[in-house]
Symmetry: C2
Subunit: 638 residues, 2 copies
């Protein structure tokens, strides 16, 4: 008989199900810890001071214990004089003698042959810390549900408390699975990389996240896709740990046995969450323990970890909160900002979507854009400086759609410039010199034409172009005139770049020039329409009188030089047109064809922007110029 | 010849001096760390991917590799059929065979006797992760100055990187000093507490803070106030550690040798910071190392640690930022809110003042108040949920003065009620039951009359009173009528409390009733004017016909029952008037005098406030009632 369980539920529902399934579970985490070890742990009882702090009337300063009445009327001009038996030296913290009721600060006195000269009148209790000033014996000094802070630890000691009742932290096990997954050692040792293998990197992400949260996680060996083995490990894990995480095997493919294992061992709580990525997440209760299956793609694992695992860990630790607030804590969100989409974004109906965002302040408005929506693209998570969670109701989100971004880094957006335009590795190298100058640089490679169009629409601070005008043989002029529509745009000639044919190492096809390239029956790796390099390629084809449909791979496009060169590097293509640095980076051969100017285009209004100033300054940076020279294929203007 | 150094400078100046004195110092922290160990460390170079990720064209799903062209026109209604040699099973991550250009998801297919039934038309590249989709060999994947995140660690591994160049963390030594300071072990072992001793608790605060920040600190033995010994330790510390902290000895007292030691060993950078607490902070450069003297009071240590030490630690770790932003990070500030002062606050001219704040939302406005300004009061730091830094220009700050509060906890202020009024230990016990009901309760003990007056001014959500009307012998009516000024105030009779004479254990003076108390020549511990207990005391005195000036200690006032009872407990007073629970908490004897009603007073408008509802609900809480019964001296109304 098939057991029913909820499928394809919302994130909110999944959180509710988990939270209630383990309602009483947090009882098992009650323990007593030595006060320092209790840092960050939640107290399970009110804590009462065992002592008065201070436990005697103490001097609050270094000075002289005396009777306040003896100082009546004393000033710097009319000091009082106390005989030797009328005062007693007090270190800070010393016990006030019975006969005294105040302490004179040393700064307000001098000593003359045993007499104390008093320059200030005191009231009784002056500079005396009364008994119990800080806390009194019997006073509640911390409460159930509060986390132990550094200040509390110190206070506990002072109040005579050596250990406190808290929730200990859950101990978790992560079980990576998958025939294609190989260990870190194997991955790094691979001489020539074996196709069809993937590094087991999720455990690094999970372990680092747990460490940042102050929790522990053990990692099991990588399991093959064999249900019996998975079953064995899950069963053992549920017996020995507080929480078990299974990596992958939750989709509906041939190898996705996890659901069967869960059904056999316990009760499936839910299968499938209506979010993207992270959709195949599922959870079960096995031997009374929570077992959560994290989908295998890095971003899916991250999302499930933040939104399902972390809130549960906090609940076990004795803390509750709204699910999204806890997810933000898991992510390490520094602040929430309201932005607008820089580019249109299509979201699926009825699905909450997690996006990795980058943000810029352009024309006085905060714009943000998703770096990619691919669950497999880890780079985007590392590169993003914010996360957005689009609601299930979001569908076609036009440019300017409001979007809330959870910022994960401190970014001074007033100092960040947004660059759109032609891609160039030398430009990518500018980020660090710009940051060293206290500003920041975000780039979107959209090609020369795309950059000018974006600049014209006010979507960025600067563009870069190397667009050949076939009629004149000149570069950029006519295009800039067309897009600027009379606005004043400054042009900065950064360098001349050598464009050429990038071919495999050793040039096995013996290509010598563009003519050879067209004559031979080889797969070409093309660039996108509007890219300066594409304009050049189409121009060269026309010069040779070759029709594009004669070029194999003409419609297979790449958006950067590196991407195009990579297709050659891995044998997917035999040649591409591109710049020398891209060929050099991958050890490919390069046949020079032409030299072109590469210009930055900046509206006059942005010339004083701190990011543009740092950029202009960085263009003169000797270290950067050295690196560009080293890359090769660039010539500085005179 | 005396060497000059800056004295009594601003916090900003102190930060500047430290930062520039150790400008190049952070070079020494450059190292290479294994990627997981590098979590949270700042990269010192741009990091370039050593591999393509993925390093082959991979299936993005579980499904069937095929030629997209073979699926043309396929729908659920009009499926395409592929013979056995036209498809191949693909696990997610498997390498796409050369002849295929797309992958059909298993959900969009079925198998019938070796034929693949295709329900969806695909375009080339569908469900294929192109080579280098995530990152490409040669691509910069992380930049100098960025901290290593969990996502980066995972990405590094995928990109073939095993270790990265980062700044290691500074290692610090803390040297506690002071003749009066005793070790934790000694402190906790003390049978009867020796006067004039203080627990060395600052090292617990410092170690816990460092741990929370991810830094290490060693703690030296507690040094006596002997310059030669301090010198030896500072010299050794500066040789072996990156940063040395000296606890106390920086004021101008007889024992404050630290300045002399600093002068002898190196260069004093500054002495004295114009802030409160923390004024005696100072810093030196010894053997090229930073040595900072933290004033000894707990709050002074905290403030100097946050504002001087932490920013320096971050600088050494390769991160810079505005001083106050870093201080907020050190404190663990969750958000900044704008509030107004609930009560007047006097600040000193030309001094920045650190305050420990509590906040409440009353009548639609955010009010906050300083718990205390005493540097020695650690409790206030633990109890506060925010920090305020008053500018040097602040002097007499009236009620309603705007003040920015750096919230250190997540508090749902909409659910917190602010109570002002008569102090009672049973009421203090209500906080936990109220919090368990999802609300919160903040209390200020201001006496019965003070509470009603505050309620009348709209400064709190509820008050509590037990005010005897001498004319009628009744309680509260006339006072509530006077203060409510026609507003509708609800009254809740919580319990009857027994008031009585609290005397030393065993009642050594043999007091039997109030008459005995007045007859004998003993020191009385009195309460503040406006407190219900004070009203009662004055009434009883009049009944006995005793003049207040005949009562020793009449003008020495305490603001809570516990504080008054504590004076009896420690022998500073022979008797006080108070409630039984206060006597019981300290094991004192209690002579019952009268029973009084204790009433909560709540304006009608707040009856639906979530905090008031939780409070009313908590008054019925069986566990709370059990605890109150256990305390004794309370009787529930019928």
């Amino acid at each position: 008989m098939a057991v029913k369980f909820p499928e394809h539920i919302t994130l909110g529902e999944a959180g509710e199900i988990l939270s209630s399934a383990f309602e009483g579970y947090s009882e098992r985490f009650g323990t007593r810890l030595e006060i320092s070890a209790a840092l960050g742990h939640v107290l399970t009882e009110d804590i009462t001071a065992a002592r008065n702090v201070p436990h005697y009337a103490a001097s609050a300063v270094d000075g002289y214990a005396l009777r306040a009445s003896a100082t009546a009327g004393a000033t710097a001009a009319t000091p009082a004089r106390l005989p030797e038996d009328g005062w007693q030296w007090m270190n800070t913290g010393a016990a006030l003698p019975d006969w005294a009721d105040a302490v004179l600060m040393v700064e307000d006195s001098s000593l003359e042959e045993g007499e104390l000269i008093v320059y200030k009148a005191l009231t009784p209790s002056a500079n005396v810390r009364p008994l119990g000033e800080d806390v009194m014996a019997g006073q509640i000094i911390a409460r159930e549900g509060e986390p132990v802070t550094p200040a509390l630890i110190s206070l506990f000691l002072c109040a005579g408390i050596d250990e406190v009742p808290v929730k200990r932290r859950a101990k978790s096990l992560f079980i990576p699975t998958g025939d294609e997954i190989i260990s870190r050692e194997e991955w790094l040792a691979q001489e020539s990389q074996r196709s069809g293998t993937v590094a087991e990197s999720n455990s690094l992400f999970i372990a680092a996240s747990f460490r940042r949260w102050g929790f522990e996680v053990d990692v099991a060996p990588i399991l093959p896709d064999v249900p019996q083995i998975l079953k064995e490990y899950v069963e053992k894990g549920a017996a020995e740990y507080d929480l078990v995480l299974v990596g992958a095997g939750s989709a509906k493919g041939r190898r996705d046995h996890t659901i069967e294992v869960f059904k056999e061992l316990g009760e499936v709580l839910f299968r499938g969450v209506r979010m993207k990525p992270g959709r195949p997440a599922m959870a079960a209760k096995i031997s009374g323990k929570p077992v959560i299956c994290l989908p295998g793609f890095p971003m899916s694992t991250a999302v499930a970890l933040w939104s399902l695992v972390y809130p549960l860990l906090r609940q076990f630790a004795g803390e509750r909160g709204p699910l999204l607030e806890l997810a933000r804590e898991a992510i390490g969100v520094k602040k929430i900002i309201e932005t607008r989409l820089l580019v249109q974004h299509s979201s699926s109906a009825g699905i909450e979507e997690w996006l990795r965002m980058k943000t810029a302040l352009v024309g006085g408005r905060l714009y943000s854009w998703a770096l990619t929506s691919g669950a497999s693209v880890l780079w985007a998570l590392a590169e993003s400086d914010g996360i957005a969670l689009l609601p299930a109701s979001a569908l076609e989100c036009e440019r300017e759609t409001p979007v809330e971004v959870w910022m994960t880094r401190e970014v001074d957006l007033a100092k960040r410039v947004l660059f759109k335009g032609s891609d160039d590795p030398a430009i990518q190298l500018l980020v660090t010199p710009i940051r060293r100058r206290g500003a920041d640089f975000a780039a979107r490679a959209v090609g020369s034409m795309g950059g000018l169009a974006a600049l014209s629409r006010g979507e960025c601070h600067l563009a870069a172009a190397h667009l050949l005008d076939e009629n004149t043989g000149g570069y950029n002029d006519v295009f800039i005139e067309r897009f600027s529509k009379g606005q004043k745009w400054r042009r900065i000639l950064v360098f001349y770049r050598t464009q050429g044919i990038i071919v495999q190492r050793g040039n096995p096809l013996g290509i010598k020039n563009f003519h050879d390239l067209c004559a031979q029956d080889i797969v070409f790796s093309n660039r996108q329409p509007g890219a300066g390099t594409r304009v050049l390629f189409d121009h060269l084809l026309r010069e040779e009188g070759v029709s594009p449909d004669k070029i194999k791979g003409y419609s297979q496009i790449c958006t950067t030089h590196m991407e195009a060169a990579n297709r050659v590097y891995t044998g997917l293509a035999g040649a591409t047109l591109g710049i020398k640095s891209a060929a050099d980076a991958l050890g490919l051969d390069f046949i020079p064809i032409t030299e072109e100017p590469y210009e930055l285009v900046i509206p006059e209004e942005y010339m004083e922007h701190p990011g543009i100033r740092a950029l202009c300054d960085s263009l003169e940076d000797a270290e950067w110029r050295g690196k560009v020279d080293e890359m090769g294929g660039y010539r500085w203007p005179d």
